[in-house]
């Protein structure tokens, strides 16, 4: 009986706290979904008249207009890609906040990947070179400090270490 009640309490507590967490968890407010979508598209576009700001962050008149256009197009049911293509057709590839992964500008995306892959190969090669023991060789004997001491020595070592720590800790 008692265990059953305990389980009920736990289950109740879990239910309450998960409910509280769902209510409190940050997440998009449904009524504003278009705002979020507008913003997320605006982040992919560079403000054509500013120094290095995106349409989402800039307050230049042109950016404000562009945000308005994005919102209108979303309300008209256009997709994210259609809207971005619309701006690319109008301003060229330069309007994209990051270069498109095609043609010449594919290089900007690929180079870091190649660097990581090449680096991994290099690290593997270096480590293989450092290996004392290659595959198939027997393991080397333990170095002297890794071998177990004869029991009386071990005991004495522990005793002295404990005393050393005691005395140094007292300072």
């Amino acid at each position: 009986m008692a265990t059953k009640r305990r389980w009920l309490i736990v289950a109740f507590a879990l239910a309450v706290s998960s409910l509280a967490a769902t209510v409190a968890a940050p997440g998009p407010v449904r009524a504003d979904r278009l705002d979020d979508e507008t913003r997320s598209i605006a982040k992919e576009l560079r403000c054509p008249v500013c120094a290095g700001e995106t349409v989402a962050d800039s307050n230049a008149e042109l950016s404000v207009q562009m945000r308005g256009i994005i919102r209108q197009k979303l309300e008209a049911g256009e997709s994210r890609d259609e809207i971005i293509d619309f701006f690319v057709a109008r301003y060229g590839d330069q309007v994209l906040a990051s270069p498109p992964p095609r043609g010449f500008t594919l290089g900007v995306w690929l180079a870091p990947i190649f660097v990581v892959l090449g680096g991994l190969a290099l690290v593997y090669g270096v480590l293989r070179g450092w290996l004392v023991r290659r595959a198939g060789e027997p393991p080397p004997p333990d170095p002297p400090w890794a071998r177990a001491l004869p029991p009386p020595d071990e005991e004495r070592l522990e005793r002295e270490l404990a005393r050393f720590r005691r005395e140094t800790a007292r300072e």
């Binding site: 290095g52 990051s98 870091p112 450092w130 020595d153």
Partner: protein, 668 residues
């Protein structure tokens, strides 16, 4: 003032070049006299540059508009502290600041090396001074002849100055630029140590204990400089974030990343005697990136929000950078035979591998940032089209790399050197993995669904757990042998092994910052709204109601302030007052002051964007966990101080009893 300053600066250039010649002469076998003279010129340089800097600051404080630099960067209405800070707000002044702080740091490094009586310190000293003075010769040459801070105002002396760019009129101006410039500058000292080691041929591990302290200081100063920049951007630029992947920000983070790789990989050399060549390469790279950073911020070759100081000194920097790289690489090749590594490793799973992967990912990150930063230039040169490489690229590429580094931060310190056995791995990792899995699945159950967030949180928790495990394990072991209380054992452990546990504390701070980045990037919530007085908007758990707007004049600026009442979960919690100001003389450029309500959980961030007679428009952002970025930064600084703090002296204890016959010498 103008004449005094100019004469002193020409003098410093002379002293730097003379000192350089003396230091090189001092490197010969009978060079003690010349070495002493070179040391004195390092000190003299510090004195002269201090006089020049004091002269410039005095000219600012006295509003001496006969000095063109003063007239162009300050006016009578600015608060006194900002007038003083205008010292480093332009090109010429910031170069003087760079050179001056370097001269002070050089003087203290040379002083400590001079008092160090070891053979290695004696051997390095002349070359060390030569490298420092060579860098100083370049900067003092620029100051004396190219970018002169002391030039008379052309025409009649104006009654008032032009004032500082409004964006810079903030308290952040007192701390961010000096810290960042000092961070760039500080890497000169570790670089000079490396050059000295190469030139003198003492490339074994002896120079590492000397350089370690200076590398950590440079690392911490540059890191804090970057973080202060993030903080400034967050509360002044008003776009809701703290890092925009702007070219100047990128240039400031690159030397820090390469430097982080360096302070990790020198540990491999200290412990295992390998990676000598690699470490030399890393510190040269770090210094070159520091110079590149100073060059980018000062030349305006890349479009940036930091374009406050542009000039024609680009070619000089480019020449200097080329000389630095060519010279260092030549030295490196010359010493190549001495830099061969000794190699011993028994398993691919070991501390060494973790360090190499750490280096790989830090450098891959540096490369990705460098590549994205200069790609617009490459594109323009190759296909004649200026493309933009912005935040989406950097976030997508760097996010996974950063997360990998956080994971390595948990794995690496727990792996033993040489080889790890399966048993050791289980003992070290089962508990942290289980803890991280448990907590992240509870969070998943409570609504954490974004895959990136789940992976990120899991990795951060795992690393956090490994660090906690290390502290607990160490404190327990100490407690068992000394009988101290747990807290006392923890404290003594940290205090006595400052280097190791200071490092763990730094890692702890980094985990905090990683969580802050995850939270604020993935759960960032924002609304752009236009409100009439009395209207309210709901953002997340908050309801923000616009009360009204008022205008007032303060010193040399007109301020527009909006008053908003905030309630959280239905309960009123206070007011927020974002403002926009327009400074006299800069009517076209309004500056923003963001109103932020901070809690451990999230920031409510409100920007006043604009208004008309009926309404005002706002950017309202809920930024989760941002405060942990600043707290994490403070923890990192604390850990650095701890690992630099001298160890308490240890006392030797006499061993009792007889030594048994047939003693084995235990040792590596």
């Amino acid at each position: 003032m103008v004449v005094l300053g100019q004469v002193v600066l020409v003098g410093t250039c002379g002293v730097a070049i003379l000192g350089l010649v003396l230091a090189l002469r001092g490197a010969r076998r009978d060079g003690l006299v010349a070495t002493t003279a070179a040391r004195n010129s390092v000190f003299g340089l510090a004195g002269l540059l201090t006089v020049a800097s004091v002269t410039l600051v005095t000219a600012f404080l006295r509003h001496d508009f006969a000095v063109r630099y003063v007239a162009e960067h300050s006016n009578r209405d600015m608060p006194l502290a900002l007038v003083g800070a205008a010292f480093y707000s332009g090109l010429e002044g910031s170069l003087l600041y760079w050179s001056w702080t370097l001269s002070l740091l050089s003087a203290s490094a040379v002083w400590s090396l001079w008092r160090n009586r070891t053979g290695i310190a004696r051997a390095l000293l002349p070359y060390f001074m030569a490298a420092l003075l060579a860098v100083q010769s370049f900067f003092t040459f620029l100051l004396a002849f190219v970018a002169r801070p002391f030039v008379r105002f052309p025409g009649p002396i104006p009654a008032d100055g032009q004032g500082l760019n409004p964006l810079l009129r903030d308290w952040g101006m007192l701390i961010h630029p000096p810290m960042l410039l000092a961070g760039y500058m500080s890497w000169t000292v570790p670089f000079a140590f490396a050059i000295a080691a190469l030139a003198s041929g003492r490339v074994d591990n002896e120079w590492l204990p000397l350089v370690r302290k200076w590398a950590l200081i440079a690392w911490a100063v540059l890191g804090v400089g970057n973080l202060l920049g993030a903080w400034w951007a967050y509360h002044v630029l008003g776009w809701g974030g703290y890092w925009g992947w702007d070219p100047v920000e990128n240039s400031a983070i690159m030397p820090w990343l390469a430097g982080t790789a360096f302070i990790h990989s020198i540990q491999v050399q200290e412990r295992r005697g390998t990676l000598k060549l690699w470490n030399m390469g890393l510190i040269i790279l770090t210094f070159a990136l520091s110079i590149f950073g100073t060059f980018v911020v000062r030349s305006g070759i890349l479009t940036s929000v930091h374009s406050f100081a542009q000039s024609t000194i680009g070619p000089y920097y480019f020449a200097f950078l080329s000389v630095v790289l060519l010279g260092s690489v030549t030295l490196l090749f010359w010493r190549m035979p001495a830099l061969r590594a000794q190699r011993e490793l028994e398993s691919l799973v070991s501390r060494e591998s973790a360090f190499l992967l750490n280096n790989l990912f830090f450098l891959a990150l540096t490369f990705a940032i460098f590549w994205g930063t200069i790609f617009p230039l490459i594109s323009e040169a190759v296909q004649g089209l200026k493309v933009s490489v912005g935040a989406p690229y950097f976030q997508r590429v760097n996010g996974p790399l950063l997360l990998t580094l956080v994971a390595l931060m948990g794995v690496g310190p727990l792996l033993p050197w040489r080889r790890a056995t399966g048993r050791q791995l289980r003992a070290a990792f089962v508990l942290p993995l289980a803890a991280a899995a448990l907590v992240s699945s509870v969070m998943f159950a409570f609504g954490l669904r974004d895959p990136a967030a789940v992976v990120g949180v899991f990795v951060c928790l795992f690393t956090l757990a490994t660090i906690v495990e290390e502290f607990v394990r160490g404190a327990r072991a100490r407690r068992a042998s000394t009988g101290e209380g747990f807290i006392a054992a923890l404290w003594a452990l940290t205090r006595r092994n400052g280097r190791r546990y200071g490092g763990y504390i730094i890692h702890l701070g980094i985990v905090g910052m990683a969580l802050a980045v995850l939270g604020s990037q993935l759960y960032h919530l924002e609304r752009q709204v236009t409100l009439a007085p009395g209207q309210a908007v709901a953002v997340g758990r908050y309801v923000v109601q616009f009360q009204g707007r008022r205008e007032f004049v303060e010193a040399d600026r007109k301020v527009d302030e909006a008053v908003l009442v905030v309630s959280e979960n239905g309960a009123a919690v206070g007011e927020l007052r974002p403002t926009k100001s327009v400074y006299r003389g800069f009517e076209a450029q309004a500056t923003t002051s963001v109103a932020i309500r901070t809690s451990a959980r999230e920031d409510l961030y409100v920007v006043l964007n604009g208004w008309d007679s009926k309404s005002a428009s706002f950017l309202i952002v809920v930024n989760p966990l941002v405060v942990w970025l600043w707290i994490g930064g403070a923890i990192v600084v604390g850990g650095t101080v701890l690992s630099l703090w001298p160890r308490p002296t240890t006392r030797s204890v006499r061993v009792t009893g007889q030594q048994p016959a047939g003693v084995v010498a235990y040792g590596d």
